[in-house]
């Protein structure tokens, strides 16, 4: 699992690559959380290269989204692959975290 975090203006852009299963989450959770939660930044996450998500991956997104919400910031996911999108639909993740098609839409969402 690979993570890249870039900051521009008030938004953090996070790019994830690989499988978001338990070992994958272990590899990126600290960096992901430390990069966006302390500053309460609006965060957009590129999922186009995430090919699998397990419950620990959902837990990571939900925990970060809740932490950001407490600081009036938002987590927005974009471009999930079909299999990942099906998992999001099953657990109704969109009730908690906006999930949009592409980065431009995600940035617009973050700016609202």
């Amino acid at each position: 699992m690979d993570i890249q975090v870039t900051l521009y203006e008030e938004i953090a852009r996070v790019k994830l690559r690989g499988r978001l299963d338990s070992p994958g989450v272990d590899q990126i959770a600290s960096k992901f959380t430390a990069s966006v939660v302390p500053d309460g930044r609006n965060t957009v996450v590129d999922l186009s290269e995430v090919n699998f998500i397990a419950s620990m991956g959902l837990r990571l997104f939900i925990s970060i989204a809740k932490s950001l919400k407490r600081q009036n910031a938002r987590l927005i996911l974009f471009a999930p692959q079909t299999q990942v999108s099906e998992v999001f639909n099953t657990v109704l993740l969109h009730d908690l975290v906006p999930i949009v098609a592409d980065e431009a839409e995600a940035v617009r969402f973050a700016a609202v």
Partner: protein, 377 residues
């Protein structure tokens, strides 16, 4: 009254080691192969001067009586402080850290050795570490046995019959299920899948299981699936449970009306399979993960149950597998298995497990495998 070596508060007791006790100047280390999946789970083999052989042959150092293991499958040896493994022309191959080996291959400390469904780990440990690991293993085994002891026995006769099969991906898992008569005409069925694996998930899983077994949800009508999910959602808020949540499928069968009422929370569908296996109907309602959204109003739905139909309720570890080519499989690849006929000598849940194992890459499944079948006569 506490001694100088101890300090107390209401919850914590701290013991300090007596510095006058001599410690070993030099610890002796050994190399071990530990069975972490398959026959002899938890067994710790010492690697010494003689090579250790693994196979179906009864003369092997470790006998694995399994069809996916060859008679003489592989050999492990300790040479100049390093451990090497050699495949002995086995049919299904020997894998080190997921890669099939050719020739003599180094087996580094911590690496995983796989033969069919059997998995061993190489550990270089001091005697003290081995003793601690064995103690932890015993504790985990006790925890595993406790979790399994809470699962209901299969029901082999009567108007509602049950079969199940469960394989935790770690020594203890976060899946649990149950069923019970609520009264003479109502039968409760549920399956829960706690986020993550291991002891943390297992502890929450056991808590939920005991609440459901004892019907210990105040003011809850257990014949109402939506009410059960709503009250569990209130009781098990993730903020109060180390950020853990769970998915759940819950149903109640009314045998007089031949009607099943059900609800799901963040869980994929259960499937109702007709007696002739030509119809496979998904049973699911839209609901979030339990513990994540406060005050959510869960929905429920109902369906009629025809004679001879069977209900398949299972965790996502059953179908979220990687195949032998490394492709990620999902529900659509799994569902055709439900239409296949029974196999002599295996119950339906065991048949499904065997089918999944045949599709999956060698080694342990990534997630807990929990499968429950309810047959309606």
């Amino acid at each position: 009254m506490s001694s100088p070596e101890e300090s107390f508060d209401d919850r914590t007791r701290i013991f300090r080691r007596d510095d006058t006790v001599p410690v070993a100047v030099q610890e002796q280390f050994g190399h071990y192969l530990v069975v972490i999946r398959g026959t002899g789970l938890g067994l710790r083999l010492v690697l010494g001067t003689d090579p250790l052989t693994i196979g179906r042959d009864t003369q092997s150092s470790l006998v694995l009586a399994s069809p996916d293991v060859s008679r003489r499958h592989c050999q492990v040896e300790l040479v100049s402080g390093e451990v090497y493994v050699s495949d002995l022309n086995s049919t299904n191959g020997t894998y080190v850290d997921g890669k099939r080996i050719e020739g003599r291959t180094l087996l580094p400390d911590g690496s995983i050795l796989e033969l069919g469904q059997h998995v061993l780990k190489h550990e270089r440990r001091s005697l003290r570490e081995v003793q601690e690991a064995q103690e932890l293993d015993r504790d985990l085994e006790a925890a595993r046995n406790y979790g399994l002891s809470l699962l209901p026995p299969p029901i082999l006769a009567g108007p509602v019959q049950t079969e199940w099969f469960i394989v935790p991906s770690a020594k203890v898992g976060g899946d649990a299920f149950g069923y019970a008569e609520l009264d003479s005409g109502s039968f409760m069925i549920f399956l829960i899948d706690v986020s993550g694996h291991g002891i943390g998930a297992a502890l929450l899983s056991v808590s939920i299981l005991n609440v459901l077994r004892q019907r210990a949800l105040p003011g809850t009508d257990f014949k109402s699936p939506s009410e059960v999910l709503a009250n569990l959602n209130a009781m098990f808020r993730m903020e109060d449970h180390n950020d853990m949540f769970f998915t759940m499928w819950y149903g109640v069968y009314d045998s007089a009306k031949r009607k099943l009422v059900y609800a799901s929370a963040g869980h994929h569908p259960a499937y109702l399979v007709s007696a002739d296996r030509t119809s496979v109907m998904p049973l699911k309602t839209a609901g979030p993960l339990v513990g994540v959204q406060e005050n959510h109003r869960f929905q429920q739905a109902a369906t009629e149950i025809a004679k001879g139909a069977s209900l398949h309720v299972f965790s996502d570890g059953v179908y979220e597998i990687e195949d032998k080519e490394g492709r990620q499989l999902g529900l659509s690849e799994f569902l055709p298995l439900l239409r296949q006929g029974p196999v002599e000598g295996r119950n339906e849940a065991q048949r499904i497990y065997q089918n999944v194992r045949e599709k999956a890459r060698p080694g342990p499944l990534d997630d807990d495998f929990s499968y429950l079948v309810i047959k309606f006569q």
